[in-house]
Symmetry: C2
Subunit: 338 residues, 2 copies
């Protein structure tokens, strides 16, 4: 879902705001284009945001090098572009990481702006290819959990749309299908923003993988009916003790899985592991706007003046986590990340 434009001068991304109704690609040719795409969630998913930011910064470097032969003026322009990209989505962790990586690379490079710009394009490609490889590694490790006929339940979207590769939570599904297994997926719709219905269902159906959507409120009952063999979810942060911070609703899925002996498996890049945070309750959870809950799809369903709760994430205690799959391998409880 992230690539260079065919002329190699811009960044092409799938506009996720318009899914599933419209499949539209956005070609980002300026800094403003890139900032706008990230800010408005045309690009989402922490890994994908990091990749797009790196590629956009490399693009800006090429433009600056074409505009000036002065290394000082070039450096100034690069810093300005990085600052604008950094501010586009303050909470995503991969975004500053990718930008700092490219700025450090530029700092190390001697030579004229044009040489540095070429080096940054190579570095951005490395960021992108490492993301693809990270997804592939999660998929390979995840094969141990997915058999022919496995019925997977997932929440939110931690798929190809959230990365430059085959996703994180969905990587084992794609890997198993590639290995010739028949795998089906139940996608919980993921209120309030519908990432499961809109994005997970879309990308799996595009890939020809059988997918069915249910409301979040149906997950427990479908497990009670023995309709789910395995839960695969992503993570926004994994604490030292194995507590998992992920999209709101994940904890309810974990409780239901625990009650029905369904393995609850978390898939995430190793970079998601935050060993400095001891446990999940130390994480401050973002509270998002009322209208996401109160005015779904533009129609008010909550009476005027009635307040809502809207935490963006929840904490699933490590005790409910069967395994954590990262690009480094399969981690089993008890978890002690350092």
């Amino acid at each position: 879902v992230v690539d260079w434009t065919p002329d190699g001068r811009g960044v092409r991304v799938l506009d996720q705001r318009q899914l599933p109704g419209t499949v539209a690609w956005l070609d980002l040719y300026t800094l403003d284009d890139a900032v706008f795409a990230i800010r408005t969630l045309a690009v989402r998913g922490a890994p994908a945001i990091g990749v797009v930011a790196a590629m956009a910064l490399a693009m800006c470097a090429e433009q600056a090098a074409a505009a000036t032969p002065s290394r000082d003026a070039f450096n100034e322009e690069l810093a300005r572009a990085a600052a604008a990209l950094r501010a586009s989505r303050p909470t995503a962790v991969n975004l500053p990481w990718a930008l700092d990586r490219l700025l450090a690379a530029a700092h190390r490079m001697a030579g004229a702006p044009a040489d540095v710009a070429r080096g940054l394009s190579a570095e951005a490609n490395a960021v992108r290819h490492e993301d693809v490889a990270m997804c592939d590694a999660i998929g390979a490790h995840g094969l141990a959990f997915v058999r022919d006929g496995t019925r997977v339940l997932t929440h939110c979207n931690a798929g190809a749309l959230a990365t430059a590769g085959i996703g994180t939570a969905l990587a084992p599904v794609y890997a198993a299908v590639a290995a010739g297994h028949a795998v089906s997926v139940l996608a919980a719709e993921t209120r309030p923003v519908w990432q499961g219905a809109r994005l997970t269902a879309w990308e799996l159906s595009q890939a020809g993988i059988p997918v069915t959507v249910c409301t979040d409120s149906m997950v427990a009952t479908l497990m009670r009916q023995r309709r789910v063999d395995l839960v695969l979810v992503g993570a926004d942060r994994i604490c030292a003790n194995g507590d998992v911070v992920n999209k709101i609703g994940t904890y309810a899925v974990a409780l239901a899985a625990h009650a029905h002996d369904v393995p609850f498996v978390v898939c995430a890049p190793w970079s998601t592991v935050d060993a400095a945070t001891r446990h999940g309750d130390a994480v401050i959870i973002e509270s998002r706007p009322r209208d996401e809950v109160a005015v779904p799809c533009g129609t008010p369903v909550v009476p005027h003046g009635v307040p809502v709760e809207n935490p963006a994430f929840d904490v699933t205690p490590a005790a409910l986590v069967h395994a954590i799959i990262t690009d480094r391998g399969v981690h089993r409880p008890p978890f002690h990340f350092s």
Copy 2:
């Protein structure tokens, strides 16, 4: 939410389809009006449907008595009206019960059509007043569970809007507030039809009772944060062993309550107890249309061609039920209804 029109010649109901945006009353003056109101869910909630059907049949009896002095012609017209009302919502259990009660009363009455019609109006009033009394009794028994400061979570709408009185699940809340207690309510939005957001939040805010809406996916996390003291839900059917059939999503709430030692209490009329059904898994669960899940508020969120699950109800095993409150009192486990 159900009364005679001021002139006494029709039935007045609150049009629940338009909540919470518009508060509109429907005056039902003909058999067709009443059938339409029930079929299109302007009136919903099994107890409320039963009351409206009884009142509408009494109204039809008055009209038939005015049109003919012949008892045979009157009886024929009464049977025709009852059949039309009975077919308006085939699955609601209180609907045939209320109609059969009025037909049996008519059968017992001697005299001219005008006398029978008067008797049926009295019988319909009895149905209505018994429903109000049933709600009051549940509220009184439920007071044992609600203290000053209790934070209640409820799912779906089993409130005043679903009955002729103060509701079933919400009756203890109204009773506690009337007794001077400060009670607040978290209403789970109740996908796919939003009864929690649209109806429960509306009726509680109208009553001046603090209510906050959350998505169904947030309930478990709010319990983990110790934000819920008590769960009160209604029931569509209670089996002999105490298994509870209720709106989809109830089981997930029960699992979360169990995990966090929050009492899960079911409130329903005694008529909901179905001693002939041994356990919940013997109940056939209605599957409802795709668009309720796939096209919320008129906007497609599920990709074209992707199937959905849409069971209308789920089964909460008796082992998760802390108590069942009916108009007959508080029932504690182990449950053996007969």
